[in-house]
């Protein structure tokens, strides 16, 4: 056997050592890249808190926007955001869950279902500002809802619909077939199977999807700007609850509004340095809320996964 073709033992060894070294280097590199991305997130949050520290205080939450940075607060912004989220959740949850149930439990496998599915996938990739243009043309002018809380809530509901649908479908899919078959075997109709057996098991997944959707909606700025949210609003929409019969009123739906991200955007884009502290404080609150909602979603998903043993 000629030795010049085969490698010597030494060469093989050194080859193995160097390949193993590259392997280790890459493992470190991967971890480093991942950690530096997370480090940026932490840095961002601490920087916002530090820059906005001087603004945190009770009055920041109870003051209207003002021309003086140190008096300007986020009262109209957080009230506006809460009302918009209410509309968004009330619209997106039933429609999203119903659409998901249809696609997962009812839909026959044909071209028509295929069209709905492609639509849902495609809508998830449509830039959010295009939803804003849709809302401007359709809700604000065609339907005549104006630049209102209702328009904003409906827009964001359409925007998060794919998120809710996808999350709901995933959790419906994870319910074992045996449970459905057992219910059918006892003579339940399709809706009875879905309502009494499949849906209760999927609550965790549906909730997770809704919370993730809302956490996306709460930070969305572009579509709301397109509708025409104002950044200087020194009044509150009429309260949804009041003391006399029927205790609810819906005037707030048609009220003009501002929202947290709009307020922050307005403050960021002012040349005056003093307002940047306001922007940082508003950003810290906004980021804190998004992270909190995501945290809750992770916990719910984890708890439900642990509780159910198929």
């Amino acid at each position: 056997m000629s030795t010049d073709v085969l490698m010597t033992l030494e060469e093989i060894r050194s080859g193995v050592v160097s390949r193993k070294r590259f392997d280790k280097i890459f493992a470190l590199l991967g971890l480093l890249v991942l950690m530096s991305c997370l480090g940026v997130l932490a840095l961002l949050f601490f920087d916002l808190v530090r820059d906005g520290a001087s603004r945190f205080g009770w009055s920041f939450f109870t003051n209207f926007p003002s021309r003086k940075a140190e008096h300007a607060g986020i009262l109209s912004a957080w009230v506006g955001t809460s009302l918009i989220m209410l509309v968004t959740a009330l619209v997106a949850l039933p429609i999203g869950v119903a659409a998901a149930i249809y696609l997962e439990e009812y839909a026959p496998k044909n071209w028509f279902t295929g069209i709905i599915e492609i639509n849902v996938t495609n809508l998830a990739g449509v830039p959010s500002i295009v939803y804003g243009l849709l809302a401007l043309g359709l809700f604000v002018y065609k339907f005549g809802f104006g630049q209102s809380v209702l328009s904003a809530g409906l827009t964001l509901a359409l925007l998060i619909l794919p998120i809710v649908i996808v999350a709901t479908r995933e959790s419906l899919r994870s319910v074992p077939k045996a449970i459905r078959e057992a219910a059918y075997g006892l003579g339940a109709t399709r809706w009875e199977v879905t309502k009494d057996h499949v849906l209760p098991y999927s609550t965790g997944g549906i909730l997770t999807g809704l919370i993730l959707g809302l956490s996306r909606a709460i930070g969305e700025t572009a579509p709301i700007i397109t509708i025409g949210a104002l950044s200087f609003i020194a009044f509150l929409p009429p309260s949804p609850v009041n003391g006399h019969f029927p205790f609810l009123n819906f005037e707030w739906l048609t009220s003009e509004f501002t929202a947290m991200p709009i307020q922050m955007f307005n403050w960021v884009s002012r040349p005056d340095q003093a307002f940047q502290a306001n922007a940082a404080a508003a950003g810290a609150i906004l980021l804190g809320m998004t992270l909190l909602m995501n945290g809750i979603a992770i916990v719910i998903r984890y708890r439900f996964r642990k509780k159910i043993n198929w």
């Binding site: 997370l38 820059d51 639509n119 849902v120 043309g137 109709t189 955007f265 960021v268 950003g283």
Partner: protein, 308 residues
């Protein structure tokens, strides 16, 4: 007894005919919810086309596609979309330079190197990065990244596409990482085992077996990332300046299609004016650009799911 009453109240003892009819009614309701998705797409397309057609009644398509000046709100109006497209493409390019390498490295690490428990924790945490409101990223780009870059590149303007692009890149890292990782994990185990049996290291297996095997999935991740970057709005609106300039130099301030729509929306533009229509024309171009990438991405992901 009380159980029977409870069952009765839920309609369990109702006639079969009634229950079947109720089922059919429910199905119609559920279907109409599903149709909301179709309706949304149709509404988006028709609104964009309807308002754009009014726009193109004033502006010739040739000017729109070849003029290099975009000043729709000036007295002497020019309607060339090229400056907005150049801004959009430049920002997207910078973003991809950040997001593709970082996202791919993270995906390889999570899929091939990280222990199971670490992946279960790291992945959701990484996804938080994609959940940060974009307006907060805009603050980050304008007030933290730009001053840092100005130290490295003297003479860099306060508004520039570079810092906006870098931050958008960071923003889509989790998205690219997540889609790529899914694609890599769809590569069957026996291919890895074959590679390990030949004495390959994890890195060799990852680069020569898993990555080629997941190629269409990786391509889908990158393409969907492009579409995200093109559609991103607030970071560019805050950090890139809002002057339409026909340039591909990332150090310059410029305006993207999305930032233009924001800029016009901030002002109080009368319904039906040419300025109002111009944002729909810009939106149509944006929609077409992202649609092409989304469709390519959609078919690529479907391919990698079916490949094995």
């Amino acid at each position: 007894m009380s159980q029977a009453r409870a069952l009765e109240s839920r309609g369990a003892f109702a006639s079969l005919k009634y229950r079947k009819n109720r089922d059919r009614a429910v199905e119609v309701v559920l279907l109409s919810a599903g149709l909301v998705a179709v309706f949304t797409t149709v509404a988006i397309v028709s609104i964009l086309l309807y308002e754009s057609s009014a726009f193109f009644a004033h502006v010739s398509i040739k000017d729109f596609l070849t003029d290099t000046t975009w000043t729709p709100l000036f007295a002497e109006a020019h309607f060339g979309i090229l400056p907005l497209v150049s801004g959009t493409l430049t920002v997207t390019f910078v973003a991809l330079l950040v997001a593709i390498p970082l996202g791919t490295i993270i995906a390889i690490y999570l899929s091939e190197f990280a222990p199971h428990r670490a992946r279960e924790i790291l992945k959701p945490v990484l996804e938080l990065l994609g959940a940060v409101p974009t307006v907060v990223y805009g603050y980050f780009a304008l007030l933290m990244v730009t001053p840092l870059l100005q130290k490295l590149i003297p003479g860099l303007p306060g508004f520039n596409m570079l810092s906006a692009g870098l931050v958008i890149g960071l923003m889509i890292v989790p998205y690219i990482a997540s889609v790529s990782e899914d694609a890599m994990r769809a590569v069957p185990r026996y291919m890895r085992e074959g590679s390990y049996a030949m004495g390959a290291t994890r890195l060799q297996t990852a680069l020569r077996v898993v990555v080629p095997g997941a190629f269409s999935g990786l391509a889908a991740a990158y393409i969907l990332g492009i579409s995200r970057a093109i559609g991103e709005t607030m970071v560019v609106a805050i950090a890139a300046g809002m002057q339409p300039t026909f340039t591909f130099d990332p150090r310059q301030p410029a305006e993207t299609i999305t930032a233009f729509i924001v800029q016009v929306s901030l002002g109080d533009l009368p319904h039906g004016s040419i300025g109002y229509q111009s944002i729909f024309a810009a939106g149509l171009v944006l929609m077409l650009m992202t649609l092409v990438f989304n469709l390519i991405g959609f078919f690529l992901t479907r391919r990698f799911r079916e490949a094995y």
